[in-house]
Symmetry: C2
């Protein structure tokens, strides 16, 4: 028995059958004597439909009114899920974001949660009622409805869990948990029983789309331990938590890949102050997200800078850099290459274990896979390889670190 | 220039084209220098769709959650209408029922408006903004969303008009105003420039479906003068107001008919106390709305009671009365008749003019139309006639009182 917060996403409440199935799951927990608050998203597809409605009457839908419109999606969900639970005889009430005390600030359509006044939620929980809370929404100081942007319902769930001091916060989704690698690429990938916030953040930043990074950061900030698990079965998922001592014995937690990367290299840059800033500013102004950045001085005395980005941005990057190139002197040239993949290994144990990079590069070399660029952070090593070899690379590195086996 | 409150119903905002057309109308008023608050209903069909969704997950949808669900319909409308106005460059904000300060009490799905705190509405109006308010909804003392039941958006509009002391309150609908008779039945029916609350209430009670009676009663209670007019053209409609001296010079304001009426008569009732109560209680328990009630003592010493009701209720009424009949003694018998129409004339001038009934009955008699039951109130006379003659009856009475001509 305990206090459980669950979050169900749009797919999990995407049909009346699914809503009934969510109600059954919640009833089982309630029957077992738990207190339960459930955060729900809009039914799958509803938000897109509302956005399409807005576009019917507005060429550029104003954000304040988008929030008024979009928040109705979650409000409908809470009513329907509550009705389904009442139909099963479970005492249940719904709460909008406002009623659940979610106070927001910042811009409409991408607000942040400032505080949460859980008094009404607590009151209902203490009275033995299941509480169904609208995700993705809150109200600001003026009383205006604000939505939280992508992944907002996860944020809501973690905020609710923090505010009621939940024993468990479960994010129910269409994946089983966090794996050592994408099981579609690495067949013997293993579901992780637990992972640290930082590791999940690094994995998320390199393409493992389990949750939006800001929800993980929010959980880390407020110390909310949560579990990512499937809404379709009752298997245990992956606990995401603060790192603790025994985690460090595992050198590598997981392997992640990104495809469709491109590299741009500028060579022949005069070795003078301000050159890098000029180049990076041009890319920033063009709103191009660059990922790995490598710069060094070649033997000819000129500097060279390399960046990676998504292939879709390559053309715009070249256009943005062209005028800069002309200001860098006659030796400056731009080279580019598409068809690149990026492979990363992540693990907090890396900090206290040496030789991780050597072990990774050896494995790739033995498989005949050439390494392009290399970048490292405290708990991550990323390399680029030819995109045609990216899946092989993931498999050999996964095997090299014995990720298919549970650590002893 | 003034402060105008308008209300648009579900049909008037029933499509994106209609929403754009509402925005154009509001813009014209705004451009002319008026302050404007607009109360809107859910888009036509949306409320029915939400009710159908509730029935998918609940055999008996709980009312608290129905209010959470149904109120999203109006919330979507205010966002869309606001967006359409902003698209035209008109500064506009939306307000939910809660934000517009509509405080309710009573039962969910049929709450009443207790108070309205118009401070936010006033603030925006004073800042030169058009304010779009969600009709049909408010919040109770606990902060729970409540809806107002049928005709709730009219109620909201009248409450908003009262709270901001509007110069004009316009109820925009799919009829042009209030007519002396249904123009489909009486071709020379005339649109009334004005009518008193009481006259409209009496006409509404006999089938002229312009507004729900409780909205008219609410307007009367708070002294809100309003205009019923078309959302499809710019013709002046009908002003509904408190009665004033010059109104009394008009004897009859209008004629109204009801079809599909049935009569039940019980004869042979012993002339003893409690007999009527027994009969009426049986009908009340069966939730049968009875309309005209006539009782008298026949020459044989027995009493007889007659009632009218809608034909659809006749079978249930007979079933409900059967067990009562057995307790009334052996002389009691039940007779019934369907195919009856009811004709009413309404006018506050009736109070100070005698001979109205005589004039009406003479006209009907001259046309060879037999009168069945007769009932009267202070400002209304109703008679039943054979349903096949109800339209003729309306026309001859309309002509007898010169209702096609504007009073001098």
């Amino acid at each position: 028995m305990g206090l459980i917060v669950q979050k169900y996403g749009g797919t999990s409440v995407g049909s009346f059958d699914r809503i009934r199935s969510v109600a059954q799951r919640v009833k089982a927990l309630h029957d077992a004597g738990n207190q339960i608050a459930v955060v729900v998203s809009a039914m799958g597809g509803v938000t897109d439909k509302l956005i399409a409605m807005a576009r019917e009457v507005s060429s550029d839908p104003p954000e304040r009114e988008m929030d008024v419109l979009l928040s109705t999606g979650e409000q409908q969900s809470i009513a329907l899920v509550t009705m389904a639970l009442l139909e099963l005889g479970v005492p249940t009430v719904s709460l909008t974001g406002r009623q659940a005390g979610l106070r927001t600030s910042g811009s409409h359509t991408r607000a942040r949660i400032d505080t949460i006044d859980a008094s009404l939620t607590r009151k209902y929980l203490d009275a033995g009622q299941v509480v169904i809370v609208a995700g993705f929404q809150g109200v600001n100081e003026e009383g205006l409805i604000q939505t939280l942007g992508r992944g907002g319902s996860d944020l809501s769930a973690i905020a609710v869990a923090a505010s009621v001091d939940a024993d468990v916060c479960q994010i129910l989704t269409d994946v089983d948990g966090v794996y050592t690698a994408d099981p579609r690429v690495v067949p013997d990938a293993r579901k992780l029983p637990e992972i640290s916030y930082d590791e999940l953040l690094e994995l998320a930043s390199v393409g493992t789309k389990v949750m939006q990074s800001r929800s993980v950061e929010f959980a880390k900030k407020f110390g909310v331990k949560f579990e990512v698990r499937s809404s379709l079965n009752n298997n245990p998922g992956t606990i995401v938590t603060e790192e603790h001592g025994s985690m460090e014995s595992v050198v590598i937690r997981g392997v992640s890949i990104e495809r469709s990367q491109a590299r741009v290299t500028i060579i022949g840059i005069p070795d003078e102050p301000g050159m890098s800033a000029r180049i990076l500013s041009a890319l920033a102004e063009a709103e191009i997200n660059i990922d790995m950045i490598i710069s060094n001085i070649a033997h000819d005395g000129f500097a060279r800078h390399s960046f990676t980005m998504h292939t879709n941005d390559l053309g715009r990057a070249q256009a943005a850099l062209k005028p800069v190139l002309n200001t860098l002197g006659s030796a400056a040239q731009l080279e580019s290459e598409a068809g690149i993949g990026k492979l990363s290994v992540v693990g907090i144990g890396m900090r206290s274990h040496s030789g991780v990079a050597a072990q990774m590069f050896t494995a790739l070399g033995a498989a005949g896979i050439n390494i392009g660029m290399i970048s490292t952070s405290e708990i991550k090593i990323s390399v680029t390889v030819d995109e045609t070899r990216i899946e092989d690379a993931a498999r050999v590195v996964h095997a090299a670190f014995d990720l298919d086996k549970a650590p002893s």
